[in-house]
């Protein structure tokens, strides 16, 4: 057996090695935001775009290299030199990635295209470090309150108009809850009536801290304070303590989900039957149907509730494209050009709009819910055209989602500026401690501990 194996193996190696080569003088662009191979419809669409692009720009060759960002895979890919030339990350990440020398500045290349002037100011600011731009925003999201209309309606919390549960009263005023106190009141009754939990509160993978920071703002808290050119942690702001007290009370009374460690991706498996409310980003709402098999007609999306009666802030961020350190200027230029072939640039060109349309067509064919999006570009010719196109394809009942999208411009609030992920981790710990110790949990002390943790990290990074 072994005698056979060796020659076979070496023959295999040789043939495979010879067909692995095939070099060309073209500039290869490795695209990390390429769809996963199992998503055949999207792959086909990207291939059409790549062909179109390469026909117009024969000096480039597009190579799909699907990569889903996560905090530990980026280091692994980086360690083995396998990061694509361009990839998607989260809005909180570019600062750290820049500091650790993993991504490069694309300031000169973007300015040459003039896109920097069309970029949403808030998003641009989050991608700018030491005066240089490090990424291109893909799209934005804001956190909002997703609610199950069916559960709420069946238990008498929403009026029934024309045989359908409505989030508005007959006179058009909102019938949905707008404060955390209202959510608590509804939850208390709901658990009696229907044995359904009120609210899904995340607590793991930094997702808990992420949503909690938004809740704390709406209680009037400021979580990081600027002192000189540094930031100081302020997680034990009395308003933040109040927000955590709310979480604790909900938990003690059995109004939150049962699980101790809940992550963001739990929302679509809970919103159908298990909970009435969850905080969700506006960019993933379609997953309710795609992954949770919940009808979009049973749901509604409204602004974040308030704690202090005035603030309805919505944590606002998005998905940026970033470029791996060491990628040549020529490649960056090529990739920027490619953005105009996939509907991701602010250019009102034929190809750019065509790609957007094709994207909607594929989503429609796949029977996906199509919702409004937050585009990362300032009002202008392209945005108007893109919005017009979007309006043609939206296939959810817009009034159920309008309260959020109509108000996002005035509600949006950027993530905390310094070490946001570290802050979320510290807050997660506080939330999990509340979940595990219940009555004995001291919210103020827990947030003070979280504050110390964050402050240490801030001091360390300033060194």
């Amino acid at each position: 057996m072994k005698k056979l194996m060796m020659p076979m193996l070496s023959a295999l190696l040789l043939t495979l090695a010879s067909c692995g080569g095939g070099s060309s003088s073209k500039i290869v662009l490795k695209i990390g935001f390429w769809p996963e191979p199992n998503d055949t419809a999207d792959v086909a669409m990207y291939e059409t775009w790549a062909k179109r692009f390469m026909a117009d720009n024969p000096q480039y060759e597009i190579q799909g290299m699907p990569y889903t960002y996560s905090t530990e895979t980026v280091g692994q890919k980086y360690a083995v030199g396998a990061l694509p030339d361009v990839w998607q990350t989260w809005f909180t990440e570019p600062g750290k990635l820049m500091e650790k020398n993993i991504i490069r500045s694309i300031d000169a290349q973007v300015k040459a295209t003039g896109w920097d002037k069309a970029m949403d100011e808030a998003m641009k600011e989050e991608l700018t470090f030491h005066g240089e731009l490090y990424g291109i925003p893909r799209d934005g999201y804001g956190l909002g309150l997703l609610m199950n209309k069916r559960i709420l309606g069946e238990n008498g919390f929403l009026p029934e108009i024309n045989g359908k549960y409505s989030i508005y009263n007959e006179d058009g005023s909102p019938a949905y809850p707008t404060s955390f106190a209202e959510i608590q009141a509804i939850s208390e009754e709901l658990v009696e009536l229907d044995n359904v939990r009120g609210f899904l509160m995340y607590s793991a993978n930094k997702n808990g801290g992420w949503v909690f920071s938004n809740m704390a703002w709406n209680y009037g808290a400021t979580l990081e304070k600027k002192e000189g050119d540094r930031y100081k942690a302020n997680l034990n702001d009395p308003a933040a303590v109040q927000a955590l007290e709310w979480v604790k009370e909900m938990r003690v009374n059995g109004l939150l989900q049962e699980a101790v460690s809940s992550v963001y991706n739990d929302w679509y498996s809970h919103i159908g039957e298990r909970v009435a409310f969850a905080v969700v980003g506006s960019d993933v709402l379609q997953n309710a149907k795609l992954l949770g098999e919940v009808s979009m007609d049973d749901l509604a999306f409204v602004p974040m509730p308030t704690g202090d009666g005035t603030h309805h802030y919505s944590l606002y961020g998005g998905t940026p494209f970033v470029f791996t350190k060491g990628v040549s200027d020529a490649k960056v230029e090529g990739i920027l050009k490619f953005f105009s072939y996939i509907g991701r640039s602010p250019e009102k060109s034929e190809n750019n709009l065509l790609a957007k349309k094709e994207g909607y067509e594929v989503a429609k064919r796949k029977n996906q819910p199509i919702l409004p999006t937050i585009m990362p570009w300032k009002d202008g010719e392209f945005l108007q055209e893109a919005k017009k196109l979007e309006a043609q394809y939206i296939n959810v009942n817009l009034p159920d989602y309008a309260p959020f999208f109509d108000a996002i411009e005035s509600n949006k609030h950027p993530e905390e500026p310094a070490l946001a992920q570290e802050m979320y981790a510290a807050l997660d710990t506080a939330i999990q401690s509340v979940f595990t110790s219940l009555e004995t949990a001291n919210c103020s002390a827990l947030l003070t501990t979280a504050n110390t943790t964050l402050q240490n990290k801030l001091d360390e990074s300033a060194r």
Partner: protein
């Protein structure tokens, strides 16, 4: 002639801790009852999670997200197995795993036995130092030093993500050629081989390599089988190093593929993901049922060799 019964009687039990003589006593018969009950219990525990995996993977999404729990799905949709298989092109993961395992077994047997032979039989200058160093490698998990190791592999150009060929497997295969445990198994075995054989061959003027391939290896079939099966199961389950090295999805093994799929965005529906896990364990189970005798003999042999 002794006839074999399907259901033998306790009074025929000759050997062991409790034999026919003990089973004349009623209390010992009760004890035997406990032995069987415990075994039934443990067998249930061993098999139950696999049945659970099967049942859960066949559920619909609403059954998983609902408020009530049922063990079995309401409907059986076996068609989705094939659909999921082709959607992820799962056959490719299996092909890769097969190639990976084959190479790992060859390297594990070849290189470890060579070194063991050199140390145990030839005994060159400094072989004791080698023994100590290898023992160090036995105690310290290789993946503890994964970062420097990856950089080394990268320096040799193996990690270029453009490599779409099985050449990328080479560093992983060779890793199995430096396994302290296999080395020690070989070394202990060779040390017990009759010295006269080797000496006789050397007298005939054969080179060391010739002695090794013509005399020693043919005598070492049992130990080669043991190491081969160990290397087979180990390489099939091998995770961290292949996970770091196999960057191209065309080259990933089943285990690496499963882990990567658990991280894709948008995520997979839960029953579908469980079904993929089920697909990833079925071949091992089938292989095991076919080769159960060989595999379990080796498993048992492990103890007596140490």
């Amino acid at each position: 002639m002794k006839t074999r019964r399907i259901f033998p009687r306790l009074k025929d039990k000759r050997g062991g801790f409790l034999n026919f003589a003990d089973y004349r006593k009623a209390s010992n018969k009760v004890a035997y009852g406990f032995i069987v009950v415990f075994l039934l219990l443990f067998s249930f525990v061993a098999v139950f999670p696999i049945v659970f995996l099967f049942a859960s993977s066949m559920k619909s999404v609403s059954e998983i997200t609902g408020n009530t729990y049922t063990f079995w799905p309401q409907q059986w949709d076996f068609g989705k197995i094939g659909a999921l298989w082709s959607r992820f092109d799962f056959g490719r993961y299996y092909l890769n795993t097969l190639v990976y395992v084959a190479g790992a077994v060859v390297c594990a047997v070849l290189f470890n036995s060579l070194l063991a032979y050199a140390v145990a039989v030839v005994k060159p200058f400094g072989y004791k130092v080698i023994n100590v160093l290898v023992f160090l490698g036995y105690m310290v998990p290789t993946i503890l030093n994964i970062f420097p190791l990856l950089q080394e592999i990268r320096a040799f150009g193996f990690l270029d993500p453009d490599h779409q060929s099985y050449l990328t497997f080479l560093p992983l295969w060779l890793g199995f050629g430096a396994n302290a445990y296999y080395y020690m198994l070989f070394r202990d075995y060779f040390a017990r081989l009759p010295k006269s054989l080797v000496e006789a061959a050397s007298m005939d003027g054969a080179s060391q390599l010739r002695v090794f391939t013509r005399v020693v290896l043919p005598l070492s079939r049992p130990i080669i089988g043991i190491v081969a099966i160990f290397a087979m199961t180990a390489s099939y389950s091998d995770f961290l190093l292949p996970y770091c090295v196999l960057q191209s999805s065309n080259l990933q093994t089943v285990v690496v593929g499963i882990y990567n799929i658990s991280n894709i965005n948008p995520p997979l529906q839960m029953p579908d993901f469980l079904l993929l896990i089920l697909l990833s364990v079925i071949p091992q189970i089938v292989i095991f049922l076919i080769f159960q005798r060989q595999i379990m003999n080796v498993g048992a042999g492990k103890g007596s060799k140490e």
